[in-house]
Symmetry: C3
Subunit: 165 residues, 3 copies
């Protein structure tokens, strides 16, 4: 360890999850859960399309017609995220899920569970909430904090490493 | 604050803006302006498609026919960036702009202004200039420095946090 | 240099290469080789689609039919990576390669050589190996280590800067 931490102080690892693509979200969870297993204090900040990971499966959500239209296309739900490549109307993600299962790699919903077990904090971006018209009831339980970029950056500036995914 | 800074020394926050997609560019500006508001010294390094943010709206640019063809497709102009998802020939970005306005979130051209007010430095990548055939007159005023990756990295290695977006 | 390094200790720069798109991979190599030229110790961790950079050109690879199908679509080979935009069935990358050559910017295969000359370490992600069904013989020579996220993060937590690309 290059820089000694004060006693009782954990090293921090943070990730901004901007993408809602299954492959990128899996990469974010693999890094986050690995960092937590190594004893680091981990926070994941879900913003923009990344919030789909934490949304319940509903037909749509939003306060006005424009938001409802956007959120109808922009489906939420951890188990129905698209792939960033070879999506093929859902065939790609289905293939990938089987391939992951064959290798005993957790799915996104399973990773959310594991993250909770490892005390990884899940943060949801309130700025995205406002322009997408989301409400807290559109989201799953287990979100640790609803906050903006300032709260996130106050953490990230102290982190040993942080990524934008 | 984990590591004390020498007196008169500001913490640094840097972003590489590689993407030219409106949603990612907005995320970059939200992080950058928030960091600056928190008192950090912020530099944004625009490279590849990210340079479209700082380009003037022209039919095309470039020195040879290949560059002109590429830059005709790869439209510049902060107010006509595509979305990374649901672009739908421009309908998606139009919807998103209205949604952002309803929530009083600045547009990309407004964020460029705000960045200037907050003394955020805007850097343009000279390597991209060379292979895309850009000239300084293709770009808006207010760019603080034209430089390469070495100049950028000399900053980033001292930053508390830096992202590739 | 903000923080003094112990004598004989080099500053570290790390990149996760998640993307297999030519433009993003070039950005990763430009940052990595620049950092190495500045005297930093550089490691590049290739994962998911990024592993295509280090794959040999074969019709396909994988251990079962699903993996073979995925890897048939997901072509490997440093000289046939797609562009993240304007791919146009390969016309975009072909145009970009000519534009890069006109500006004497190395191609991806050339950058792999240069990375070796600069003693940049190339790491290949074993987790991706498992679910994509890759074998070592599917890959080019010159990979320095086959490892997982924990090995990578042990490096990244000590880095002056690290990116997810």
């Amino acid at each position: 360890m290059e820089k000694a931490m004060p006693a009782g102080r954990q090293e921090k690892f943070n990730v901004v999850v901007f993408s809602g693509d299954m492959d990128k979200v899996l990469a974010a969870f693999i890094l986050a859960t690995t960092a937590a297993s190594m004893g680091m204090e981990v926070k994941m900040f879900f913003t923009f399309w990344g919030l789909n990971v934490l949304r319940k499966k509903k037909l749509t959500s939003g306060k006005n017609i424009l938001q409802k239209m956007m959120n109808f296309m922009n489906k939420g739900g951890a188990d129905r995220l698209p792939l960033s490549k070879f999506n093929m109307l859902g065939l790609g993600p289905a293939m990938m899920k089987i391939m992951m299962k064959q290798s005993r790699i957790p799915t996104v919903p399973e990773f959310i569970q594991i993250a909770g077990d490892l005390e990884i904090k899940l943060l949801a971006c309130t700025t995205t909430f406002s322009f997408m018209g989301f409400k807290k009831e559109d989201f799953i339980d287990g979100i640790d904090e609803y906050c903006g970029a300032a709260t996130y950056l106050a953490e990230a500036r102290e982190a040993k490493a942080s990524y934008f995914i």
